[in-house]
């Protein structure tokens, strides 16, 4: 262990020395984030028994310094719900909960983690986090907001990449320069669609060049935010006010994207033919139903035939097309990439011409040829000596598992960002992520193979198997004044779930969830007036019917000008720009949505039906079942009493409720509980 640590120290020191020769006058290498991470000596701690892996040493060292005990481990029911929601975004079934609670084997927890990491829903859950960074949407934005019918090919690539645990360095390279890889595959070119997710204005009379420039500005600044945690976009109009990034350096980054021509490439999807066949069959069925109906009505001289005629005409327009899917990608021009600085950010005022380049404060770029291109940029981002990328990436993962990054400003590691709460832990994780060298307790105990470099699954596993992660989330009043934001991590955090997950778990509780993975986005029901809002009628929103409408929130068609209102209410990320962290607001509109929105009412009704269908069950048993389905735990005596009282009160109403109504009302309460929409 000592030996390995000193090797990495040597490596880190070496790279620091190397980059020092290239020092630009503007450099401020003293800022922590520009110094390469080094594995610090693991802190010494007293309470060895609490430690499950290295993470815990760093956390406990801080707690012991403050004289604070960590929280006890959460109970098993909480743990399995927490893990399931964090790793796959779906609740465990009552049966899975029972098995886990009863499993006394030493490695039950790790086995659970492994099975969740292996679930194909893992890719969906973590893709959504990445899609926030990628400003993913199914339309192009602005007034016309034209649909991008195959944007989902990129979304599915992300899901697959996460499920396959594509190493983060390769994941990066394919998204920034997949098209430039030798013998690039269709998938790699699809991955390059990351930067096709910028906005485009198709409004009549626009200056197309203006919006092309805006897209490239977005590409440069989004790259800075997502991989470097730097606000390079601040240097679009002038030198960065706080960080050592000049306007010239911004346009050097911009130049990487100046040579990338937008192209749509044929990308037949394995699922296309099957999907087409299904759609065609459904369409034919509806067609013949309408025709028969029309014939009957016409025969009977029924005026309703006019209606059916119109329906038939509408239906004809929806005939499924065996579309050759086209992925959005790039094609590099052959001339070396150049760009003009836009004076004060105005694309019409062309300043000095610059070539491609990276900020001088960071280690030098190594290019394959005289002029560096996007592939060189991508490789530079994930080069071992880059001090930022690994830190930024592990911080993003940490943020999703604790609700807050070790660096709270996950978008800004610059001088104006917040300092890390546990700097040594951040560095240790970053080093471990890049090159898993260190031995840890977990591995020696359970004989786990060393992880692959840049493996996100390994990183997530490391974090969720720590004692730190496994703590209970109960608020500790004695710490409220000393550590109100729980920076010391003396407990887990309670986190309100994201908009998509609230939808998913509501559908799951109602037994309605369609958990199909991938494919085109679907359009949930919208009231007519909201539909009309979209793009001033430039295209129509047709509600998806059938089982597709119960798909996971991840697959809701993302129309930039009219984001799905129920999702926006729960702080879905705005898809017009990269979002590194969402809000978790708590508003009356959320209450109205969960109480009255058609979908959530349907979930409550459906859960109610599940309870009614329990043969010969008492009210108590039904309530208990509802708790298991929604909260993965039985009710307390007090809770049970209160709900029984509700059940009695309802039968005493002037118009007494039917059993189905009573159980729907009861279900609705469970689906509106703070605990239900919270990962504890």
């Amino acid at each position: 262990m000592l030996l390995l640590s000193s090797v990495s120290l040597l490596l880190a020191g070496g790279s620091a020395a190397m980059s020092a020769t290239n020092e630009a006058p503007s450099r401020t290498p003293q800022h922590w984030a520009f110094v390469p991470p080094m594995i610090a000596k693991t802190p010494s701690i007293k309470n060895q028994r609490w430690v499950r892996n290295e993470i815990d040493r760093f956390v406990l060292a801080r707690l012991e310094k403050e004289g604070v005990e960590p929280s006890p481990e959460a109970d098993r029911r909480t743990l399995i719900r927490r893990l399931s929601l964090d790793l796959i975004g779906l609740p465990p079934t009552p049966e899975q909960v029972r098995q886990f609670v009863e499993d006394c084997s030493l490695n039950a927890y790790v086995q659970l983690v492994d099975s969740l990491l292996a679930s194909p829903h893992f890719g969906e859950r973590w893709a959504r986090h990445w899609l926030d960074l990628a400003r993913y949407a199914d339309t192009s934005g602005y007034q016309i907001d034209r649909p991008r019918p195959f944007a989902w090919l990129y979304r599915d690539w992300v899901i697959d990449a996460l499920n396959d645990d594509l190493p983060f360095d390769q994941f990066t390279i394919e998204q920034l320069a997949g098209d430039l890889l030798p013998d690039a595959t269709i998938e790699q070119k699809t991955a390059a669609g990351f930067h096709r997710l910028t906005l485009m204005n198709h409004e009549d009379g626009t200056d197309a060049e203006e919006f092309r420039c805006k897209a490239k500005v977005d590409r440069a600044s989004t790259t800075g935010t997502v991989w470097l945690g730097l606000t390079v976009g601040c240097a679009e109009c002038h030198n960065h006010k706080y960080d050592p990034i000049s306007q010239r350096e911004f346009y050097q980054l911009y130049a990487f994207f100046n040579n990338a021509q937008e192209v749509d490439i044929p990308a037949p999807h394995a699922d296309d033919p099957a999907r087409f066949e299904r759609a065609k069959k459904a369409w034919n069925g509806e067609q013949s139903r309408l025709k028969t109906q029309l014939a009957e009505l016409t025969q009977a001289n029924d005026p309703k035939s006019a209606d059916v005629k119109r329906q038939l005409a509408r239906h004809r327009r929806t005939r499924p097309k065996n579309a050759e899917a086209k992925a959005e990608s790039f094609l590099e021009r052959t001339a070396p990439a150049r760009a003009n600085i836009h004076v004060r950010g105005d694309f019409l005022r062309k300043g000095e011409e610059v070539g491609t380049g990276t900020p001088g404060v960071l280690p030098p770029l190594k290019s394959r040829r005289a002029d560096a291109d996007r592939l060189d940029l991508a490789r530079w981002l994930v080069a071992p000596e880059n001090p930022l990328t690994a830190r930024v990436a592990v911080n993003q993962v940490w943020q999703h598992l604790f609700g807050r990054g070790l660096v709270n400003t996950s978008e800004d590691f610059g001088t104006r960002g917040e300092a890390p709460s546990h700097p040594e832990l951040l560095d240790w994780l970053a080093c471990e992520f890049k090159s898993p060298l260190s031995l840890n307790v977990q591995r020696s105990t359970f004989n786990v193979q060393p992880a692959a470099p840049w493996s996100r699954k390994a990183l997530i596993k490391l974090i969720v198997t720590s004692a730190t992660y496994r703590q209970a989330s109960r608020v500790r009043p004695e710490l409220q004044s000393r550590d109100p934001q729980n920076l010391w991590l003396a407990r887990q955090n309670r986190l309100r779930l994201e908009s998509e997950i609230i939808r998913d778990i509501s559908l799951a509780a109602g037994g309605l969830l369609n958990d199909d993975i991938g494919g085109p986005s679907f359009r949930p029901y919208l009231p007519e007036d909201v539909k009309k809002l979209g793009a001033a009628g430039a295209f129509t929103w047709t509600d998806t019917e059938g089982p597709e409408k119960y798909r996971r929130g991840l697959y809701i068609f993302a129309q930039r000008t009219v984001p799905y209102p129920a999702s926006m209410t729960f702080d879905q990320a705005d898809s017009s720009q990269s979002c590194t962290r969402r809000d978790r607001s708590n508003t009356p509109l959320q209450a109205l949505t969960l109480l009255n929105h058609g979908l959530f009412v349907e979930c409550a009704q459906s859960l109610g039906k599940r309870l009614v269908a329990m043969p010969q069950a008492t009210t108590r048993a039904r309530i208990a079942r509802a708790f298991e389905l929604c909260l993965c735990r039985p009710p307390t005596g007090q809770e049970l009493a209160r709900l029984e009282q509700l059940h009695r009160d309802q039968t005493r109403l002037p118009r007494s409720s039917t059993e189905a109504e009573s159980l729907t009302a009861l279900s609705q309460i469970l689906l509106n509980l703070d605990e239900f929409m919270t990962r504890e």
Binding site: Q143, K532, T593
Partner: protein
């Protein structure tokens, strides 16, 4: 009393009440003005301004599409003389247009007579008699300018201070800065009439701010707010019983985990229940006198007028009702009301369409100003008339019109907007354009300047009102803006 105390009290209350079989009335009042809603957990809790405010609320009248200032607000007799002539090339050389063909475009005089209104003798179109009757309260800015010459970027600039999608709307900024005095209604409400807004709801979005600051669109049909009503089959009694149980179960959980977030959740559900009561009361106009309804023109129809640009005759009653609703909202503490009307994009058929839109808007806006004034609300209610740009003094001649010139193209270099009430010095015209209305001749006011002035009236320094996102401190006025002192009373 903080959230924690409330919950402690509440638990005790709940146990006592549960024993007595009493519902949650005591609880509801506990969460009232002195309770949770006034505690720091609610981001909409009213906050003091940075300095003495003149305006406490705003009604933002937005005319989407680009209002023709040469026809309505900025008389140019010289255009009559030059009608049908070309502009010198030097004036259009560096100018970008959306549709207009520079080589053959000719100046187009306004056929509409202007009139002098009020003691101030402010000149505005004869098509705006009601607005004219409020001239002495209005500060008309004839020297507005913007960089945006396409609709959506222009609308975004006017609503969010930036042409880029994703920034917070002006109503979000004001609510973020000052909170909302209304505990039963959203702090930022949007009302629309005419054609649907061309940018969807992006102009009213809170962007990167929390969604509680976003504009809530009130609908003219069905539930005023989406999902406001109980679902079919759920009676008020059933809902009431359910909500009581929900509150009690949340309180029990709070007793176990102690997270103040649960207290906020309970408060949100209480507020939602109050919204269900207060919103229908707000939108019910039956308590308004017939004189008021008449003055706003709530029951008017289009009187046979037609428009090419959507909305249809419904725009008449809807816009009028929106103006009256706006007054009712500001009375009830709503901080910011946007009334959005589309469309004024008069590339062609300007004569008939402009008359239609003036008839839709003039009477209700005039009535609103007078009504506010009579109720003593105008002095601290800022009323703004805005549009993303103006229209060219040149007639529009895009090739597809086949030589028929009957409208004007987008004109960002000089256009007119106005504000009134809320500390604005009325009865004055600010700025001046050249003799054909092409460029600004005096006192230019940029959109950022206009916003800076609006914030100033709210007692906010636009350079100090910032929101940090992605490591950058954003402002409504981006990196520019200066307060226009002439606008201030």
């Amino acid at each position: 009393m903080d959230a924690q105390d409330i919950l402690t009290l509440t638990r005790r209350d709940f146990l006592v009440n549960a024993a007595r079989g009493v519902g949650g009335l005591a609880f509801a009042s506990l969460l009232g003005a002195e309770g949770l809603l006034a505690s720091p957990v609610n981001p909409l809790t009213p906050k003091p301004a940075q300095f003495m405010p003149r305006a406490k609320r705003c009604i933002f009248l937005y005319m989407e599409g680009g209002v023709s200032q040469v026809d309505l607000f900025d008389p140019k007799p010289k255009l009559k003389e030059l009608d049908g002539q070309k502009l010198p090339d030097s004036m259009t050389e560096k100018v970008r247009f959306a549709f207009l063909q520079k080589d053959t475009a000719k100046l187009l005089a306004s056929p509409h007579p202007f009139r002098r209104y009020g003691q101030s003798g402010m000149e505005m179109s004869g098509m705006l008699p009601h607005l004219g009757s409020c001239a002495d309260d209005i500060a008309l800015v004839r020297s507005m300018h913007t960089e945006a010459f396409n609709h959506h970027p222009g609308e975004l600039l006017m609503y969010t201070g930036s042409q880029l999608l994703g920034r917070p709307s002006i109503g979000s900024w004001v609510n973020y800065a000052l909170g909302s005095p209304s505990q039963n209604l959203p702090g930022y409400v949007v009302l629309t009439a005419g054609r649907v807004p061309s940018g969807g709801n992006t102009m009213f979005s809170s962007g990167f701010m929390p969604s509680c600051f976003g504009g809530v669109m009130f609908r003219s049909q069905g539930d005023p707010v989406q999902d406001l009503s109980n679902p079919p089959g759920v009676t008020a009694e059933m809902r009431h019983l359910g909500l009581d149980a929900l509150r009690d179960l949340n309180a029990m959980r709070h007793a176990v985990v102690g997270d103040p977030e649960i207290a906020s959740r309970i408060a949100s559900y209480e507020l939602a229940a109050r919204m269900q009561v207060s919103t229908p009361e707000l939108t019910d106009l039956s308590g308004e006198s017939s004189a008021t309804l008449e003055a706003y023109g709530v029951n008017r129809d289009a009187d046979g007028l037609k428009t090419q640009r959507g909305g249809g005759p419904d725009a008449f009653p809807t816009f009028a009702k929106n103006c009256l609703l706006a007054r009712r909202m500001v009375e009830r503490g709503v901080r910011f009301v946007a009334i959005h009307h589309a469309s004024w994009d008069h590339h062609n058929d300007l004569d008939s369409d402009l008359l239609f839109n003036c008839r839709v808007t003039d009477q209700p806006v005039g009535a609103l100003l007078k009504d506010l004034k009579q109720r003593g609300l105008l002095e601290d209610t800022l009323v703004v008339w805005a549009s993303e740009f103006g229209r060219t003094p040149l007639g529009e001649n895009r090739p597809s019109f086949n030589g028929r010139v009957s409208g004007r193209d987008h004109h960002p270099f000089a256009f007119s907007m106005w504000m009134a009430g809320g500390g604005v010095k009325g009865g004055q015209v600010i700025g001046e354009t050249d003799e054909i209305g092409w460029n600004i001749a005096r006192d230019p006011v940029h959109v950022n300047d206009f916003h800076a002035t609006m914030l100033h009236l709210f007692g906010l320094n636009h350079e100090q009102l910032t929101y940090r996102f992605q490591g950058r401190d954003y402002r409504l006025t981006d990196v520019a803006g200066r307060v226009v002192p002439q606008l201030l009373a």
